[in-house]
Structure formats: C-alpha cells, structure tokens
Symmetry: C2
Subunit: 289 residues, 2 copies
C-alpha cells in the first residue's frame, strides 16, 4: 500500500454509494482475491459470492487480495443469485459474448454513469460477474437490468474476472470523483516564472548568441529569436528553471573556447549554444516555426 504524502481531498471524498460486486460460482480463490484487490483500489467494498466452488473463507483469496482485508472480511456468501441481488435496485450483468437476450449493452463508462447516478441517491446497485470458464447463463443474465461489456479487441476478448472487475471499478471511481487523481503537479511548489524573469533570460540568451555570431544573417534575426523564445515558452519554465538556464548561458559564455572580444565573430569556431553550428541551428529554427 503506497501512501501519498500529498493526497488530494477530491480523491478522498466520495460520498456516493458504491456498487456491489457479485461473483457467480467463482472457481478459484485467487480470482476472488484479485477481484477484491481491484475493488479496493477504486473504493468498492461490497463483495458477494454465490456458491464459491471451494467454499469460504479462502486463504488463497486472502493472500491474493494483497491486504485488501477490509473487502475480504466483509464478503457475503449466498446460495442463489436471486438472494445475492435481492436488496439491489439496478444490476448490470457483465458478459464478453453477444447474446440473444434483448437488453441494452453498455460500456463500463456508461454503466458507471448509471450506477453513480443511482448511488448518489442512495440506491443499491451491483455488477454481476460470471464463472471463469463460461460466464453467466441466460437465466442469470435475465436477472440483470442491462449488460455491460468491455471495448476489447474482438480477436482477443477474454478477460479474467479481476480484470473485468478492475475496469468497472475504475470507471465507477472515475465517474464518482469526476476523474480526481490522487495527486497532481504541485503548482504551488512549481509556479510558472514571471514574465519579467523570463524576458530577462531571453535577453541574456540572445545577447550571448549575438556575441557568438549565432543570430545571423541580421535580416533573419527576428525570425530566429521568435523560434528560440517559442522553445522556452513551450517548456512552461518555473522560477528555478529560469535561474538554471541563466546559469547555463553564463557558464557557456565563460568557457575557454569562447571567441575573444578582439576577434571578429565570424571567425568563431565553437559550436552554437543550442547545439550544431550557427547555420544549422538557424535552419532548425526555421523548421520549428
């Protein structure tokens, strides 16, 4: 479990009732456990098992859950799917196959919108997952309101249960939190540089390049300056980064091979500050306009 030092409030605050996950006759404890872990990743807690083949509790499930013990501890076991869905108001059946059942087929994002909508009003919802080998039968699908399927490559469509749970849980949380990520670029610690500082850097750089004979011929200078400024504008520099760049320019200006003041600049043989010779860099500048 990774704890972030700087967790965003929007990612923590989810006051929408999460859906139940119902596994119908799961065969392997490992799959129950990895499904529980996937649920925990995205804040789901209500795991229901209908007739798990190897019984319950399951050490293999707990081990595979990788510390999602709060989900494993809260597991409910039912002896029929009807009993498992009885307290729910809207149920999606997940299936990877086209069926004759005449129900709407949704993607996980559409299903999440429905489940979050009901969950926001306190209604209980659920996702129904079938057996590892052959999924759900038609009678089981008939207990659901709608079908959810994943936009897989039809040539390689089989997902294991935990993967299907993961994507449904991911879409649920993404919708419930409006996509809130657990952390973001810390803009407070990385504010963009003020334009005055940036302009001083540009002037410093351009002065150094004039000294190095890079910004020639003179009629092309405005164009080349624009292209160079655009390079650094795109980088959205912070204060510290502007300082670093000014240090770089100053250091390069001071280097031993720097053309002497008493030599005409056109005799300068050192490479241009931005790599390559003056002429080449000028061409590159043109190309990047």
């Amino acid at each position: 479990m990774t704890r972030n030092a700087n967790i965003r409030d929007e990612a923590l605050a989810v006051d929408i009732r999460p859906p139940a996950v119902i596994l119908c006759e799961p065969q392997l404890g490992e799959n129950i456990g990895t499904a529980a872990r996937a649920m925990a990743n995205f804040g789901l807690v209500d795991l229901r098992l209908v007739n798990p083949r190897d019984g319950w509790p399951s050490d293999k499930a707990r081990a595979a859950a990788s510390r999602a013990d709060h989900v494993i501890d809260a597991v409910q076991v039912f002896d029929s799917l009807e009993a498992a869905v009885a307290d729910l108001s809207f149920v999606f059946a997940t299936t990877a196959r086209s069926r004759e059942v005449a129900k709407p087929v949704r993607g996980p994002d559409e299903a999440a919108a429905t489940v979050v909508g009901y969950g926001a009003t306190g209604l209980a919802t659920g996702y129904l997952f079938g057996r590892e080998r052959w999924g759900l039968n038609n009678d089981e699908v008939a207990l659901a309101d709608e079908i959810v399927t994943l936009p897989v490559d039809p040539a390689f469509a089989s997902l294991n249960i935990a993967q299907a749970v993961l994507v449904c849980a991911y879409e649920w949380r993404k919708t419930a939190t409006r996509g809130a990520l657990p952390f973001a670029l810390d803009e407070d610690a990385n504010p963009p540089a003020g334009k005055a500082d940036l302009l001083r850097f540009f002037e410093h750089l351009e002065g150094a390049l004039d000294g190095a004979g890079f910004l020639r011929p003179v009629e092309r200078r405005p164009h080349m300056v624009r292209n160079i400024r655009n390079i650094f504008q795109k980088a959205r520099l912070t204060d510290q980064e502007v300082k670093t760049l000014r240090g770089i320019v100053a250091a390069l200006e001071r280097r031993p091979s720097r053309p002497r003041k008493d030599m005409p600049p056109e005799d300068a043989t050192d490479e241009g500050l931005l790599g390559g010779e003056g002429g080449e860099a000028g061409e590159a500048g043109e190309g990047s306009a």
Copy 2:
C-alpha cells in the same frame, strides 16, 4: 479466446498506431505475461523489457499471457531505458506516487487522448511502467514527457503492473475506437413493436381489466390507464414481446376463477391481473405516475 459470432466492424477497425508498453526491470515473468495479456485484450502489441531480472525468454511469462503469444513473440529486450524509448516521440511515465518532478500529471483517459492523437498521425508513443517493488526512479521519470496515474482510492493505491497496463490499454482502445463495443443489442433481431400493435395490446389489456373490475372508480380510470401504459412503454417491447403479453392477458382472462358474465363485476374475488387487488393496484398506479 472468445469469438463473437456478431462482431461489430467499428470494434475491429483500429488504424491508429498503438503505443508501446515498456516495463523497466520487471522482476516476475508472471507479471510480464499478465501485462501481455492485458495489452492483447485492447489491441496493443509492442512490449519492451528493460533488463528483466530473470532474463528472456520466460516460460512463466508465456504461460501467464494466456495465449497472447503474438505479444510475447514480438517482445524486444533492451539494456537501457534510453535505448528502449529512443524511437518514440512521446512517453508517459506511470507512477502511483506524488513526485517532485515538475511534469503534468494525467489520468489514463487524458493520456489516451494524447497517445491516440499522436498515433493517428503515425507517431510512436509509449507508456513506461516501473518495477513491482518501487516503480521508477526520478532519472527514469525524467525521460518521459508527462506522468500518468490512476484515479485510485488514496487509501489503497498500489496496483500491480498488469492492472496498470490494463487500464491504460483500455482507455487507449476506448479512445481509439470511440468506445466501440464488440457487440450490441441486435436491433435488427429485436425491433421495437409498431405502435399499432402496442395500442391493440393496450386495448386488449384494458378491456380485460374493465371486465375484471380493476379500473375503478371510473373517474380514476384515465389516470390508471396512463400509468399502466407507461409501465409497458418503458419496457420498449418488441413485436414478439407484445405477442407474448397478449397471450398472457388472454390466458388470464380464460382462467377458471374468472368472474362469470352473469355475475356483477364488483363481486369478483380474484386478484387483479397486475398483482394485488383493484384498490391496491390503483394506489400503486398513482404512486408510479
């Protein structure tokens, strides 16, 4: 591998260059294999390994890939991350932790939009995933353009590599196909019933209910009829379903306990056709308006 009889063309046709998946020093062959399977599910094929701990090829990886052999067979192994990304134009580093690195942090959906945008123009892109135990170091993250992270529950944030690959691959395919699902409700096989048939069913049902004394008192009849019609309108009935319902009404009209023609309807003691007695069903009808 499940093949659908009725695969939708939109789900098959993806002519956008998919991103590479780069695993940096993966430790377990199983994780390489499950990552390959997740890639195959969503149409990614370019898997790159940087110094896999247990070498390559890996029987464990192939076994865990569950027949995603085309991905395993095409794996490229590199001895540095720089070499692994050299031919790419835009790289996302995945991380579950807030970092000091000043890079934009995106969700998998935003990252997919970027990668699909570049991929549509033929540019090569990639997602970089770190080691099982501790992810990527800052030098490795510095090789990437932006960071992608998942909108996990901050209290339970650790995903395994295959899960992270799965969600990124899912979002990629969803974006690349505009959410095309591999199958849908077959509207051709399940056309909605024509309104004339539906109205004949309504008249049949309402006639039967009049006969059973259900639609009373008479001043409430229009309201009750509206509510009952709404129930069946919401069900978006097909031709066949309308026929089935007419059969149901006819069968219930004929049942032995049906009030005789020579008895006044108010003496009917059988339950209303839609469950409950007339009065109760009337109340329910009111509630559902």
